[in-house]
Symmetry: C2
Subunit: 331 residues, 2 copies
């Protein structure tokens, strides 16, 4: 190699690694805020006394097939090294996982025979009761943010610390909609997207018709509204379009815990992987595909108890199921 | 025009009209058996004391946008000339509409606030109690047959009289599934397709998982199984494939009465319009499109009370909504 070509080669390596790092920052970093917990779950297929759970856990595990999520959460001193290891093994950044004195959030529930209903038997908030999200410095410059279902004022506080956001949104629930309505409205006003289920959409909007409900919610802020309908699929509303997908039909649903969160992780993870076009916009068809990836990830989640499916799941299986969706919706 | 060209012209006219009539017989004749009734309906949008209804009515009206249905049903001496005229104006053959002494079948029901449930207030079977389908001779050579929800033994009796069937199937309900199970199994064993809703599919199969339920039902006979899920859409199971479509999202549902029957009419009507390929088979994609046309017709039905939407609906509107389905399911 001549001197000149060595120099050229040096520059091209330097340039391509700078591009790679830019590309990493531009497209690969998603911050997820929410609960990391232990769950006790009973379904018609079995019972597990205590296993890793929590919305942040499911969202991050699901998104980890598309990007490298950075989580913000709190656990107690009972948090198992093996569970930390599972998250790390999926490339999840744990710098924002705070270790507090006390016990990890614990939730216990039992599902009905058809698994469309569940009853909460026990909720011990433990260290989660005083959770105040603390963002490591490097998190604050990331472009993607998913705010899991926590108090709206905390969601807003995290949002305010993010300096470089390009696509931000999250989840909420009936408790915040009913009892923290003004806080919630002030919070979601800043969001690009909101992911909720159909009953939450009706509650938030005061409208029983989903088209009308969606129009009201988009007027509150989020211009990308994903309404999840459990086994019946999901819908993406935007001011000028509607996209709908039926649910994936599984042979067996072992445990639906976390399916909605895995949907969220697939949705936002795929978008973080794809990034924006040169005008800083997202192609609407990429949003449609993100809904499909969300559906795919939610369906895998149900195939085993808790997070177990993510111990073996591969990207190849995910992409194959994405193609299944094409096949069974083509006409 | 020379004599020779006149003769040629005569032959070509004779030939093309023979072909047209063959094509008519091959692709355009559907026999529909079921109830023609009067309904009293109350929904959150209003109340109608008495209006034209009945499964056969809805199926035939819906199918009339694709083919020329021939109905087999019975009405009483109170049947209104204007209602007969509506059916005739849509090209429906009424030769098989028997006029009996007594009153027409009357059903009255009220819908819940969200219209997902309805309560029957009154069922006067009247002349329908002794309905014994009588097929005019010309009906017996038709290739398409839809057996509406009547006693399975009567469905079988009609089937036995059809000499030239190419695609046959129908509907049933929980009452026949529970109390006439053996009769029903003997009946559907002959069918090419069965259209039922998800709770009926679970009841008939004894399986709560729809994939497993579908496999069991296909083993009973019908190799094309359409499972309707109301507002959530529909699915078509075949031994080697699955097709799913979400429900059309209406701004307002005025009256869901007859929507399932209109789905059936759109499904089988479209197939009768398209006909079979040269090998006597139906392209699976035509079956998928038939499910979409079924969904389209079911959605239109809900837009007004009773059959009112069919007084103004055009094929252009139907095809435009079919394209809407493409738009909101593309990814």
């Amino acid at each position: 190699m001549s001197c000149r070509s060595e120099i050229l080669s040096f520059f091209s390596i330097a340039r391509s690694s700078r591009l790679a790092s830019l590309r990493y920052n531009e497209t690969m970093s998603l911050v997820v805020v929410g609960s990391v917990a232990y769950d006790g779950v009973e379904t018609p297929h079995g019972k597990v006394e205590r296993m890793l759970g929590g919305a942040c856990t499911y969202i991050a595990l699901s998104a980890s097939y598309f990007t490298s999520p950075k989580i913000v959460a709190v656990v107690g001193d009972d948090f198992d090294a093996a569970d930390r290891e599972l998250l790390a093994s999926r490339g999840i950044d744990l710098e924002g996982l705070e270790l507090a004195d006390g016990k990890t959030f614990f939730w216990q529930g039992v599902y009905s025979e058809d698994m469309n209903d569940r009853t909460t038997l026990r909720t011990d908030l433990n260290v989660f009761a005083t959770f105040s999200p603390k963002l490591p410095e490097v998190y604050k410059s990331q472009p993607y943010l998913f705010l899991g279902n926590i108090q709206p004022a905390l969601q807003k506080q995290v949002f305010a610390q993010m300096a470089n956001l390009r696509f931000c949104g999250g989840d909420t629930m009936n408790f915040w909609i009913n009892d923290f309505r003004q806080e919630l409205l002030a919070t979601i006003a800043d969001w690009n997207f909101l992911l909720i289920n159909d009953s939450e959409a009706k509650l938030l909007s005061g409208e029983s018709n989903l088209r009308k409900a969606a129009a009201r919610i988009m007027a509150m802020g989020p211009k990308n509204l994903v309404i999840k309908r459990g086994e019946y699929g999901a819908m993406l509303f935007r001011p000028d379009s509607l996209f709908m997908v039926p649910g994936y039909l599984l042979e067996s649903v072992f445990d639906p815990t976390g399916a909605g969160d895995c949907f969220a992780g697939g949705f936002v993870g795929y978008l973080a992987e794809r990034g924006f076009d040169l005008k800083g916009e997202i192609d609407p068809h990429e949003l449609h595909r993100a809904v499909i990836y969300g559906s795919v990830m939610g369906s895998f989640c149900c195939e085993k108890f808790g997070v177990d499916r993510f111990r073996t799941l591969t990207r190849q299986e995910i992409d194959a199921r994405f193609e299944d969706f094409r096949k069974f919706t083509a006409f």
